[in-house]
């Protein structure tokens, strides 16, 4: 048709109008199945340890540091003949701190990789979803060692029989924090927490600890898991500030918790903010020091941290001396295929120290395996550990009815840009 005629023009615009309201919200992108990378190629006869953790994303610091600590000690063991002649290697997968990849990784580790044991998992939302898998695979006797979470589900029936915990629980940490804050006269305690099972676990711990003292939560605010440091948490700051608390306990990951501290301080609010071990105090401090340098401001005042391992500054402990020496000597890093080559390691951190201690207990148990070296034998060996000294001044004991190794909580605050043990809580007296 040489001459366009009018209805087509009108129709075209109508079609466009309809098409524009026809396009629904784009579907949320599916969580990408994590990269499947072997950290170390195992050879026959190796003890293969399976790990799924966050090596990428806003919590990458946790998976990476935990891995580095474990790798440092295993490197030392392997260089010195292994355990009874067997090398100990870690097969690690990235789950980005998301439950679904963690489940997929676990299935692969158990079924395909046929690992001896699972170890160094990171996070409550991930581990709580993996627990039913362990129960499902209970015939294959695979157990999970020393997950980097203090939540209750893996410390209680029906899952406690499949899990060995080394670190103290969030209940221990929150109980300790509440006890010390209340003793210092700070009775109005509010919680800033991650909107998932991890945050809820800490919220529950704080609430229980307060209830024991006849107190209630002064306020609460949540944030979404995966919130980056660049996000504003001003809304949460405002909600909590309105509640007028004497102190805040944060149950979160380092990126969001650091952002919360930054936004609170930027709003001129200097309330003491306490974080628990999972935050990864090294990564938290790194972010805050960085922002502080950029803006000429101190974001590290009135920060309190509860830790489940001793301070890496405490060179009086043999394990800390070993840790520092081996970290310096081996400079372990997670494979770049796993991290995307993006991660900048911390020299020392409580997280890598925890990974290091985890490996020490593992090696102690591997050395005790008698007869067959299968999963059940390892479980038996772990349960036979009785008063083992790993160099932190507290003996480790496990048993058939005792799968919790430590209950010790350590408290630190920042002085001169580093976390140091708190010796006197009276500085926060109110």
């Amino acid at each position: 048709m040489s001459k366009p005629f009018f209805p087509f023009g009108i129709l075209l615009s109508m079609l466009l109008a309809i098409a524009s309201c026809a396009s629904p919200n784009p579907p949320a992108p599916p969580i990408a199945k994590s990269a499947r990378v072997f950290s170390t190629a195992p050879s026959p006869g190796d003890y293969v340890i399976g790990m799924s953790a966050a090596f990428t994303g806003p919590s990458a610091g946790l998976g990476n540091e935990l891995y580095r600590g474990t790798a440092a000690y295993l490197e030392y063991i392997n260089r010195n003949g292994g355990v009874n002649g067997h090398r100990v290697v870690v097969r690690a997968y990235d789950d980005g701190y998301n439950p679904n990849p963690a489940i997929d990784n676990t299935v692969d580790l158990i079924q395909t990789d046929d690992v001896l044991v699972l170890m160094d998992y990171v996070g409550t939302p991930t581990v709580t979803r993996v627990l039913p898998l362990l129960k499902k695979y209970s015939d294959s006797r695979v157990s999970l060692l020393f997950p980097f979470t203090g939540a209750q589900p893996q410390r209680e029936p029906p899952y406690d029989e499949f899990v060995f915990n080394l670190r103290a629980s969030y209940r221990d940490e929150t109980e300790g924090l509440v006890d010390r804050l209340v003793s210092a006269g700070r009775k109005k305690i509010a919680v800033f927490f991650q909107a998932d099972s991890y945050g809820r676990s800490g919220w529950d711990g704080v609430k229980r600890a307060l209830a024991k003292r006849g107190l209630e939560l002064a306020g609460e605010a949540t944030y979404r898991r995966g919130t980056p440091y660049s996000a504003s948490l001003g809304e949460q700051v405002n909600i909590l500030r309105k509640a007028g608390p004497d102190a805040i306990i944060s149950i979160g990951a380092y990126a969001a918790c650091a952002a919360f501290v930054r936004d609170a301080r930027d709003a001129g609010w200097d309330v003491p903010i306490a974080n628990v071990s999972f935050v990864g105090s090294g990564s938290l401090l790194d972010l805050l020091l960085d922002s502080g340098r950029q803006r000429g401001k101190d974001y590290t005042a009135n920060l309190i941290n509860s830790e489940v391992v001793p301070s890496f500054e405490d060179a009086s402990l043999p394990a800390v001396r070993e840790y520092r020496q081996m970290m310096d000597e081996y400079e372990p890093t997670a494979p770049s295929e796993l991290t995307g080559g993006q991660y900048k390691p911390l020299k020392y951190s409580p997280v890598s120290l925890e990974g290091f201690l985890n490996a020490k207990v593992l090696v102690a148990a591997l050395g005790r395996m008698t007869g067959t070296s299968g999963r059940e034998a390892l479980m038996g060996a772990l349960e036979s550990l009785d008063g083992v000294d790993i160099g932190i001044g507290i003996p480790i004991t496990f048993g058939p009815r005792r799968h919790q190794g430590l209950n010790a909580v350590y408290y630190t605050s920042v002085e001169n840009g580093r976390f140091v043990p708190i010796r006197d809580w009276r500085r926060w007296a109110k």
């Binding site: 005629f5 009018f6 309201c21 409550t124 099972s197």
Partner: protein
Amino acid sequence: MRMPKLLQKVLAGVLVLFVAVVVTTSVISGWNLDRLLREQYDSKGAALANDIAAASVETLLNRDASTLQSALDQSAEIQGVSYVFIVDDRGQIVAHTFVPSVPEAVRSLSGNRATTTIRDVHVDGLGDFADIAAPILGGEAGYVHVGMDRAIMANQIKSAIAGTSLAILVVMIALAAAGAMVVIRTVTRPILRLTDVAQSLERGDPYRPEALAGLSKQKDELGQLARVFGDMAAQVKARETRLKQQVEELRIEIDQTKKAKQVAEITESDYFKSLRQKAKEMRTVRE
């Protein structure tokens, strides 16, 4: 190819009609979809709330809140579910999926001990929800609230209707365009040809029957029209020829009469008469 004005009008009318039909269908199906989706979402939410309520009893009474939270988080991943929260027997919210905090509008929602209740809630800044409350242990242990997002529903309806309307319109436009092509081929083009021939006749060009030869063979009304037109043209031609002839004859007649009149005028004149008298006298004198 030219698009005749009449056809434009007809097609425009047809399209307006199509659009009216589509709009009407959209409104009706939108209303129906809304009702159906509401029912579906509400029953989905109710099933979920009851499931959580049944599963929470033991957890709520015996475990820490993180186990409960884990269950809620999984439920909140279900499409259409905006929030889930659990209120315990003391009216305290022991687990929820809100960020950054539980909105006042839902905090005050209560449940019914005997049955699962559904009500519409508006939360400033978050939107509209169907809040479905299921009692746990007959309300003794608390309530589960599941919030189904009305906006997702509205979007689904919108996209479904827009999709259907779009499909219908596309099909109709395709049909209309095809129809136009057919009409142009079978109806308009012969009419245009006839018009052309008539115009050439109007200009006085000679009528050439071969211009309508093909068309005249058609057995439909257009063929008939062409044949009638051809006959008419032929008759007009014949009549014209006849008229021309008659005019010619008349002209000859007129010429003869004129001549006679002129002769008469000459012969009737006094001069001619006197001349004739003189001639007569001359002939008489000679005798």
